[in-house]
Structure formats: structure tokens, C-alpha cells
């Protein structure tokens, strides 16, 4: 992106105040393009998620608005815009109004370092992954602010639970990033992706046993930070009405959930970048544009697979209790991620260029687990005496 700007400026496209105009034009354009992807994505994910849960629960899900219910998210959006925007009398109006925007900001900012392809990235910061984790942690400010400003027991408990949860899970998440940083020696998103290969055995997921565990811990911690279902205590309906969003209505309420659904993409992008080889794909063509399109597709397929996985987990696991949540974080994830970090350090000290043989062993192990899993799925399908049936357009 920066090279593109420099080329345009050198070509004299923007006249005298070239650098300023170019910067403004390019960044406004890219903001429009990227956010034009981000917000519809959050909406479409809400529809996909409802369809996926429905199918897992032997229901059909929303299928009336538009083809197969595809426009359900637009209908929901229009409905929320038309709703009255209630601000409670006893609330703190300024904080109450600001909170949803902070949460959305935490969802919007990571898109600046989202590595879609080898050249399609807004800003390849040299502290990219650090920036990513720090701006996503901004959610906690918005959520706590919403909980406090609502002046309501449920909101406050929800906000405080969310703060405790996000701050706790930042630690294993941060520690799980270290193994990758140790192996690559860079924090830049592009640098980390370039250190991996397109083939699965060259991904950091299968680099050594420690990174495999780190990837799992990071994914689960990211789900906890994004308030996703096994860890959605801040908005536990059975005990807290809607948690920190209890007093919100209309568009402000929607903002929280838009950020939640949009965060799925960011969670997927972090895991893809760090452990799944990012946009790496085989060099099958010399055409730069075509290559970038291929990389964009590869990256998005990986991210969307992880988004689907999170929906699947949400439909499978019940909500944990607050003590179980803290136990999982402090007694399991934190010590294990410390062991991971030290293990990776030792591994890197022994094999500075990585152990290629280990990649194949880990990949073979993963394939064995996947085959066992498919066997179990077929076992359950057979036991129900039902034909395997896969038709998303019902």
C-alpha cells in the first residue's frame, strides 16, 4: 500500500501537495473499501450463524427474507434503526452514548493491519500483532463503560465480569503469541506470514508440539475475549438479562453485537496469520494481480473456516460458570502457555531453522485425528438411522 502511494506521488498524479493529498485520498478510499467489507461481514455472519445453529438443532433457521433468508441481516438492521433510542434517566448520558462506539472502534481498528495478501494490507506495522492485541483489548473499556453508565445491577455485573474475563484471558493470549514471535523474530504480520510456507507442514501450527498447543490456547482465549458462547458470561441471559447491554436499545444495542460478530473475523485472522500460514499459496502464476487475488481467497477461506468453527463450538458447548472460567484461565492456560513459551525457546535453541521432520509427523497426527473424528460423525449418523443429508437451501 505504501509503495503504491509512493509510486503515485512520484508519477505526479496529485500535483503540488502530493504527499498530503495522496495520503488523504488513499486512506479515505481504503477506509471506505475495508469498512465496506467489515460491516456487511458482521451482518452476514449473524445470518450464517443463525442458519448453522438452526441446522445443528434440527431446525431450519431464518429462510424467509430474500433468497434462503440471506437478507435477514438487512431486515434486522433496518428494524434496529427504526427502534427508539432510549437513554435511561439515571444513567450517565455521555458515557452511555460513547460506549458502543468504543466497542465498534475496537472492532474497526484491527482492520488496519489485516494481511489479506502480500500487498493488500493497509499498514504493515513492525509491531503489527502487538497492535492487533492491544486495540482489540479496547473492547473492555467500552463494555465496562456501558455497564457502569447504565446504572443498573445487571449491566454493572455484566460489565465487571467482562472486564475480569478479558483482562484474564489477555495473559494466555499474549503468551501464546510469544512462541511464534520467538521463531520468526518479528512482530510484523507480513513478516510472520512470510516465515511460513503454503503447505500445512510448514505452518507454525505444525512446527512443533508447543506451537500446536499455543494455537489452541490462543483460539480459546480469543473466543473468551470476544464474549463467545462457552464464555459469554457478560451477557448470560439466564442470570443477567443481557448483561452490559441490558439498558441499550435500537442501533446502540446492535453496535455491541455487530462488534461481537465482526470480531469473529479478527479472531480468525489472528490465528490464520500466526499459525495457519496466512495468505501463503503456491506460486502458480507470475501475474502479480492474479497472485494477490489467489492469496486473498486463500486467506479468506482459512478465516471463514475458523469463523465456522466458532459457530460450531457455540452450538455445542454449554456456558461455563464464572469460577470455571477463571479456573480454566489461571490454572490451565497460563501455566501451559508459560511451558509453551519456554519449550519453544528450547526448541529454537536446538533447531534454529526449525525441524522439518517434525512438521510431517505433526501433520500426520492431525490427519489421523481428523479421520477418527469423521469416523465418529459417521457413527452418530448411522446410529440415528438417517441418511446423510446436506442441503443448505431448505
Amino acid at each position: 500500500m505504501q509503495t503504491l502511494i509512493e509510486n503515485l506521488v512520484n508519477a505526479g498524479t496529485f500535483g503540488k501537495n502530493a504527499s498530503v493529498v495522496a495520503a488523504i485520498v488513499i486512506f479515505v478510499l481504503s477506509a471506505v473499501v475495508f469498512l465496506g467489507v467489515a460491516f456487511p461481514f458482521a451482518g452476514i455472519v449473524s445470518w450464517v450463524e443463525r442458519r448453522v445453529w438452526a441446522r445443528i438443532q434440527s431446525r431450519v433457521g431464518p429462510n424467509r427474507v430474500g433468497p434462503n433468508g440471506f437478507l435477514q441481516w438487512l431486515a434486522d438492521g433496518v428494524k434496529h434503526v427504526c427502534k427508539e433510542d432510549i437513554i435511561p434517566d439515571d444513567s450517565d448520558p455521555t458515557l452511555f452514548k460513547t460506549a458502543p462506539y468504543l466497542v465498534v472502534l475496537a472492532f474497526v481498528l484491527p482492520w488496519a493491519v489485516m494481511p489479506f495478501s502480500s500487498s493488500l494490507i493497509l499498514a504493515d506495522l513492525n509491531v503489527g500483532i502487538l497492535y492487533m492485541t492491544s486495540v482489540t483489548a479496547l473492547t473492555v473499556v467500552g463494555v465496562l463503560m456501558a455497564g457502569w453508565a447504565s446504572n443498573d445491577k445487571w449491566s454493572l455485573i455484566g460489565g465487571i465480569r467482562s472486564a475480569a474475563q478479558i483482562v484474564s484471558y489477555e495473559i494466555p493470549a499474549g503468551l501464546s503469541i510469544f512462541p511464534v514471535v520467538l521463531m520468526t523474530g518479528t512482530l510484523s504480520m507480513q513478516g510472520i506470514i512470510r516465515a511460513q510456507g503454503w503447505a500445512p507442514q510448514h505452518w507454525f501450527l505444525f512446527a512443533n508440539p508447543f506451537t500446536f498447543i499455543a494455537a489452541n490456547i490462543l483460539y480459546i482465549s480469543a473466543l473468551a475475549e470476544g464474549n463467545r458462547t462457552p464464555f459469554d458470561l457478560p451477557e448470560a441471559e439466564s442470570e443477567l438479562v443481557a448483561g452490559f447491554a441490558t439498558e441499550y436499545s435500537g442501533m446502540r444495542y446492535l453496535f455491541f453485537f455487530m462488534a461481537e460478530w465482526g470480531n469473529l473475523f479478527i479472531i480468525g485472522a489472528i490465528i490464520t496469520t500466526l499459525f495457519l500460514g496466512g495468505w501463503q499459496c503456491p506460486h502458480i502464476t507470475k501475474n502479480v494481480v492474479l497472485m494477490n487475488v489467489l492469496q486473498l481467497i486463500v486467506f479468506n477461506v482459512k478465516v471463514l473456516a475458523l469463523v465456522f468453527l466458532s459457530m460450531w463450538i457455540r452450538a455445542t458447548l454449554p456456558r461455563v460458570r464464572i469460577d470455571q472460567l477463571m479456573l480454566l484461565c489461571w490454572k490451565y492456560f497460563v501455566p501451559i502457555s508459560f511451558v509453551d513459551m519456554i519449550g519453544t525457546a528450547v526448541w529454537v535453541a536446538i533447531w534454529p531453522d526449525g525441524n522439518a521432520f517434525m512438521g510431517y509427523i505433526m501433520l500426520a497426527g492431525a490427519i489421523v485425528v481428523a479421520v477418527l473424528f469423521i469416523q465418529r460423525v459417521i457413527f452418530y449418523l448411522r446410529r440415528s438411522r438417517m441418511e446423510m443429508y446436506f442441503n443448505p437451501t431448505i
Partner: protein, 201 residues
């Protein structure tokens, strides 16, 4: 030492139970949903799957109504209103009103039992929702009609015969509850004849 083994055991259990749970949900993801998408996305209308003697909304075949008023007299909640007068000129029974208030009807079926021709009968239609009580009153007589006069032999009029057959089948099934299959066959035949009245039976 037991602390460490418990710790490892917990991790093992967590991973294996999540593995199993995810397999179950994945298998459910690949099954057909149980949802019946009533009313508009069904292979067969619900009304067509119901039995012949299902007590749905009442209907009157005016062609075979004798104007005997048996149904009006038996109705426990007076939801049927019939006006039948003798025409002073032609000396024929003239039906000028036959209203059934569906809002009042409790689907007891007492009206259809004494009917000599099976003219008043329940249909399999049950979707009666409407915007006003007034429109729930079914008015079967548009213009005054002459009441049906039963003949001694079989019915000869090609237009009325299938309707009468259907009505009698309806009554027979009430009288002989065991003859379900026969009555259904007869009803199907009668319905087919009603659909194509021109063909000789």
C-alpha cells in the same frame, strides 16, 4: 502426585469430551431438519392429509338440502339460521337463507348426523382466521333456491348424483365406523366425479 495426575486427567477429559460433543453436533448438522414449514412450504397441504370425517369448518351442499331444518333444531348453540318458505305460486319449498356462524360453532357434529342427505357436513378445512366476526358468518344462499326433493329410485340427475353419493358416503361412515377404507374409497370416487361431472359414472 495425585494432584498432577488429576490435572492431566482433567485436560484429557476436557479434550475427549469436546471431541465427542463436536462429533455429535457435526452429525446433527448433516441431518435433515425436523421442521414442518406450515403453511406454505409443504409437499402436501395439511387439509388433504386429514380423514374424511374430520370435523373442520361446516359446509352445505345446497343442491341436496331438503330444507327439513333438522340441523337448525339440533344445533346446541343456535349457530345455524335457515329460512325455508313455501312458494305461494309453485307450492315448492324455497330456501331464502342458510347461514352458519363459524365464530359460534363448536364443531360438535350434531347437525350433520340427522341430515337425511348428508348436505350439511364438516370439511377438512380448519384455517378460519379472519379480520372480522361478521365475515365468519358463512351465507350459503345467494339467491333463493328450491329445496331438494328425494326421489324413490336412484338419483337420475347427472349434476346432483355425485354430490348425493358423497353425502351418503359421509353419513354411512358415521353409521358404520368400521367401514373406513370403503367409505374413503367411495368419497374419493365421489370427489373425482364432482371434479368431472360430465362423465357418466
Amino acid at each position: 502426585m495425585s494432584g498432577v495426575s488429576d490435572y492431566v486427567q482433567n485436560i484429557k477429559e476436557t479434550v475427549s469430551t469436546i471431541f465427542e460433543g463436536m462429533a455429535i453436533t457435526a452429525s446433527h448438522f448433516m441431518r435433515k431438519p425436523y421442521t414442518v414449514q406450515y403453511p406454505d412450504r409443504m409437499a402436501v397441504r395439511v387439509q388433504d392429509t386429514l380423514p374424511f370425517r374430520y370435523r373442520g369448518i361446516l359446509e352445505v351442499d345446497l343442491e341436496i338440502c331438503t330444507g327439513c331444518l333438522a340441523c337448525e333444531r339440533l344445533c346446541p348453540i343456535d349457530c345455524i339460521t335457515i329460512v325455508a318458505d313455501k312458494d305461494p305460486v309453485t307450492k315448492q319449498l324455497l330456501l331464502s337463507q342458510f347461514d352458519i356462524d363459524i365464530a359460534k360453532c363448536m364443531y360438535c357434529g350434531l347437525c350433520s348426523e340427522p341430515c337425511p342427505t348428508g348436505s350439511i357436513h364438516h370439511t377438512t378445512e380448519f384455517e378460519g382466521a379472519d379480520y372480522s366476526l361478521e365475515s365468519l358468518i358463512r351465507r350459503f344462499v345467494k339467491d333463493p333456491v328450491i329445496a331438494y326433493k328425494p326421489k324413490k329410485g336412484p338419483e337420475t340427475d347427472q349434476r346432483i348424483a355425485p354430490i348425493l353419493n358423497r353425502g351418503m358416503a359421509y353419513l354411512d361412515q358415521w353409521a358404520i365406523p368400521g367401514s373406513d377404507a370403503e367409505a374413503k374409497a367411495a368419497a374419493d370416487k365421489a370427489a373425482a366425479e364432482t371434479a368431472a361431472p360430465g362423465e357418466p359414472s
